[in-house]
Symmetry: C2
Subunit: 348 residues, 2 copies
């Protein structure tokens, strides 16, 4: 019998960050697609849209008016999923019915006053202002007694549930550590105790030697397709230095984070020459007042597109009931992204 | 301060089957929606479609011809994600790079020769034939040395990645136990060892007493919205008797499974008077040759629609990076479904 080869044969890969397996079916990308096709609307947006509730000076749903902000702007989400005044408490009835009160603060962050922009089209110096605001929010929210975790994220594109194309992200800060970061916390802690180094330092070093999944790097960060990626073009930005949260970044590192955020999203846009949808977000140390030397700052990107601007990967059926499954290898995806032009397709 | 109330206040709920928490934001259903709206195509389909590769007598992609089947029909998937002839083996490089060969068999199951039907519109006696075929496949696949788990599921509707409206489901049978069933295995085993009863027997009994999340029942099965549901109208069918797999069902129980499958999907269709999309699938004991008294047969339904036939819940951003989140309570969803007419809207 032939030898097992993880580039050719169906196999499982292990994600050491969350401790779960994924399924890879490399041969399956040849499958024809007769299913749902996404609308691709690439209309040119105006720099200011009078009906947009995120543009400067406009009124929001709650009746409040946005200031005439010049770079970035954050405010409390008018439809927060977490609220500050939730009474504390628990409900339990045996082992099978358990509920716990959860409170928190949800904010929206406008990345730019210019309605027509997206991150890959912004200047690094302006993305740097977004990074600075993330730092400020992480600090201010994290300092609050009742906030144990600050989740910063961006939903981009209508197919990722984003209801407004104005460049923006969100923060949901909660009392309790959410599910995904708590899995990562556990696994990073075990690794750190065993090796005295963060899991992602060792992982990054191996990847830099292997090279096959690296997308782009600068002085302080590397963007790569993780070995265990589940979305077709999933990627991660990892800091070269083992910092546990945004506040430990130096001035230069903050700019480098802005720089690599732009470089990675340019690759994404260039892949199908379309504004590439994704959910992205930072994972970093909980704000529970403890030291977290096991935590290594990183940013995940989960983009849904698979074959073209209009055909996405559906995480349904087997993925929901069995194991998340992907049709192309992480190595193949990395190669395709890496070989794309570094200049945004719109400005070529 | 007011008392914590899990019907009104944001909170987390625990899923004892997979051991994970979910976030509930009951107040958030009031949020207006300006995001993506799904196309609702409710065209009448013909009973036979000459271009459908699942209709009787038609040719499939591989060149094979479907027989003139009269009720149900299963065949090996022409684009199987798992293959039988995968060489065994592993790849590992330290703790952070681990891959394992995975092999298996993927099949497609046609539920009816009639292209125009869906489960809620089929006769119970014909759905019973689907149940019988599931049993046969579970047995035949499960008996194979190299198959450790048989995952039976149905993706229904274009928004759930289904590429053909002909009534059908799938089976992916693998060597290894997939992620979700392996989590459920672990937790059910701990519970069984502690109590000498299956987790779902105790859970079902409590739910039958509480009544607030019950949707419909017959002699052998109950359909309910689990306390820890994450999708807006998620539900589960649980067998009243603690059976670990399909083969333990009596003749009457098989018919009752067909009956409740129809009753539940009629509720779904009636909710927004549209053919309701979902991913559904059976979870049952692994086919590893061991006894699994801890396993309790059940079927999950994960439907994406939230507010109407065209507005779905997006599991993105916070859900992917933090914790899965829902906007309406399980109790509210159960009440809405339970109060709907028991007659399919098309035949009223
Ligand atoms: O097998 P199908 O129907 O072609 O494909 C569909 O179901 C599979 C199993 O749930 C998924 O992996 C695919 O993403 C989905 O499009
Ligand atoms: O907050 P938004 O942009 O209105 O809503 C979007 O992001 C949220 C957080 O990821 C999700 O819960 C919603 O399903 C999604 O539509």
């Amino acid at each position: 019998m032939a030898k097992f080869d993880y580039i050719e044969n169906p196999h499982r890969r292990y994600n050491p960050l969350n401790g779960e397996w994924i399924l890879v079916s490399p041969h399956r990308s040849k499958r024809p697609w007769q299913g749902q096709v996404e609308k691709v609307i690439e209309e040119k947006r105006p720099e200011y849209d009078p009906s947009c509730y995120l543009c400067p000076g406009n009124e929001r749903v709650g009746g409040e008016k946005n200031p005439d902000y010049e770079d970035v702007y954050s405010f409390q989400n008018d439809f927060s999923a977490l609220l500050q005044d939730t009474p504390e408490g628990e409900f339990s009835d045996g082992e099978l019915f358990k509920a716990q009160s959860e409170s928190g603060i949800c904010k929206v962050i406008c990345f730019s006053p210019n309605h027509s922009l997206t991150v890959p089209e912004m200047k690094v110096e302006n993305i740097r202002k977004v990074v600075d605001l993330w730092c400020k929010e992480y600090q201010e929210l994290g300092e609050k007694e009742e906030i144990g975790y600050v989740q910063i994220f961006e939903n981009k594109g209508a197919i990722m549930g984003c209801s407004n194309p104005h460049p923006h992200g969100q923060i949901w800060a909660s009392k309790l550590v959410p599910l995904e970061p708590s899995k990562e916390s556990e696994n990073q802690l075990v690794y750190y105790k065993k090796h005295g180094r963060t899991m992602l330092s060792d992982y990054l070093q191996s990847e830099l030697e292997k090279k096959e999944r690296i997308l782009v790097e600068n002085n302080s960060f590397v963007a790569l397709v993780p070995f265990w990626a589940v979305w077709p073009f999933e990627s991660m930005i990892i800091s070269k230095r083992a910092v546990s949260n945004l506040l430990e970044l130096t001035d230069e590192e903050r700019t480098d984070l802005a720089d690599i955020y732009k470089k990675l999203t340019i690759m994404y846009d260039n892949l199908f020459e379309v504004s590439f949808a994704y959910s992205a977000g930072l994972h970093q140390a909980p704000t529970d007042g403890e030291e977290h030397p096991e935590w290594h700052l990183h940013m995940h990107f989960y983009p849904p597109l698979l074959r073209s601007a209009s055909v996405k990967k559906f995480m349904v059926g087997y993925e929901m009931l069995g194991t998340p499954q992907r049709d192309i290898t992480a190595e193949g995806a990395a190669k395709r992204l890496r070989e794309l032009s570094k200049t945004h397709y719109k400005s070529r």
